[in-house]
Subunit: 308 residues, 2 copies
């Protein structure tokens, strides 16, 4: 398992299904947990999957429909019951700020940790800059203000070639600079090109989340070149008009966005409850894009594997 | 199965357990559904048990801790998605009225049905009067204002004795009065005592819900003589001091309330998550009261059977 994991806590749509929770996912990145959307039941599934509450640092809410955020008040309460100490930052569309603060004020009066809210507005942009990862928000096209998110690893250090470091007698103190790509200058003033001393870094991985949204080229543009794309696929192809009217996408449209954006793997989800199994949706999506995975509650995926 | 059923949707306490949802129950009474408390996950379990959303008419919230009411916003949204038309009445402690209305205003903007809120205050009393059933609220003793509820069937009609009606030639029009206990006066002015024409009615059943509360004799007084009592039993006997401090009861205390109130069956629940199985709690309760049932998520019980 790599440093970059995705756990699907819920992949159903608004009308509840006995088989699927509403939307929620957790990104595990180097020991840190970040949640995307928090439908009812997210905290219970998080526990079932053994994802530690104490490691949760950020929650990103795509939009203020209940099936994407009504698990948040309960989760915030629970974090206190678990004695969480480190702060939690919640990103959510500006229109949800007031109500979510009111709920928190009422139900988390005895919070053991700091809750920070960040309002998403306008065109989004980079909203988080961690040492090895950034998170960007970008607009989706739904019935209410909605945002997608891209989790993007920063460039990684180059790999040192031990044999060449020995040969050129590179001092230990120089090595961090070489990992960043610097050339090595010997005591005699000879320049040894970095490419002789190092090999390419591991690829920087990226994951994008798009739910809920209608089919729109601007979404493909926003997620251009990410490795793994989660895109909602609420309906099959015969319900394209319903999808458009409700601000949703069909599975084939999810495939078209994946193809246009040039991703490596497409994960579909946010299924209407009419689909007991998801085979028809996978088949529809595959007509536009070959590598499709159907999300399922409890499914855990390795972003590195899906990026190959 | 009788007309009066109880479905346990969740019997865990605030700290979530992967095995138990937080508090929620549904009373099925002659085709009507009434919910008591609505912790997160209640709506999902309701669906799993095949309890129809459209038949839900009343929700009774005992107190405004998240594990007893944070499933309500999602449930209210879902009822609209299911196209509910008939009104829903939500009873809740007065302090919760404003926040719950704010949440409803935000998340149920497109409600297809009328939501009425009734604030519980002071000593409670009868809060609902249906054709065959009443509901009373009474104070519990917890860290915030909290109410228990008694569901009490009204006296039922007496059974007519067909042989005696024939013998005394009782006109059909008189029969409803006889069922209510009236004597029959013949054309000659003779009075035939009701007891010769009818037999006793079926017993009127009653069910009381007490969660969350510390051990208090006033609770036993409020539920005096009910047939079936659900009483919280958060801790085992060794944690009596913790129970008192947190405004909760031990299982033995639940048994003591059942004994003092003279009920027929005690159902315990609201278990701390430290109890993987509930055997120790059942044994503790049985030291004070013999007939104890351990609630479990998804358990469905017949109040008539438990009242014998």
């Amino acid at each position: 398992m790599s440093d970059f994991q995705l756990s699907i806590l819920g992949c159903g749509s608004a009308t509840p299904s006995p088989r699927r929770n509403p939307s929620s996912q957790v990104i595990s990145y180097r020991g840190r947990l970040m949640m995307i959307d928090c439908g009812e039941g997210a905290q219970a599934t998080m526990r079932r999957l053994g994802l530690s509450f104490s490691r949760l640092s950020h929650v990103f809410i795509s939009h203020m429909h209940g099936d994407h955020c009504l698990g948040l008040p309960g989760l915030l309460s629970t974090l206190s019951l678990h004695g969480k100490k480190s702060p939690l930052t919640v990103y959510l569309p500006a229109e949800g700020l007031e109500i979510m603060k009111s709920i928190t004020d009422f139900f988390c009066r005895e919070a053991t940790y700091e809750i920070n809210y960040v309002a998403l507005e306008g065109a989004g942009g980079q909203i988080l800059d961690l040492p090895s990862l950034t998170v960007e928000a970008f607009p989706l096209y739904h019935r209410v203000p909605a945002y997608g998110f891209v989790f993007r690893e920063k460039p990684k250090p180059r790999h040192l070639r031990a044999d060449m470091l020995d040969f050129f007698k590179v001092p230990v103190a120089m090595r961090p600079k070489l990992k960043e790509g610097a050339d090595f200058v010997t005591e005699d003033g000879n320049v040894i090109a970095n490419s002789r001393l190092t090999t390419s870094p591991d690829p920087s991985l990226s994951y994008a989340y798009c739910s809920d949204t209608m089919y729109d080229h601007r979404v493909a543009h926003a997620v251009k070149g990410v490795d793994v794309l989660y895109h909602e696929a609420t309906y099959d192809d015969t319900l394209a008009e319903t999808a458009r009217q409700r601000g949703h996408s069909t599975a084939r449209q999810a495939g078209m966005i994946a193809a246009e954006a040039g991703v490596k793997t497409l994960i579909i989800g946010h299924y209407s409850k009419r689909y007991y199994d998801t085979e028809i949706l996978v088949l529809d999506a595959r007509e536009a894009f070959p590598r499709v995975i159907a999300s399922a509650d409890g499914l855990q995926l390795d972003i590195a594997l899906l990026s190959k």
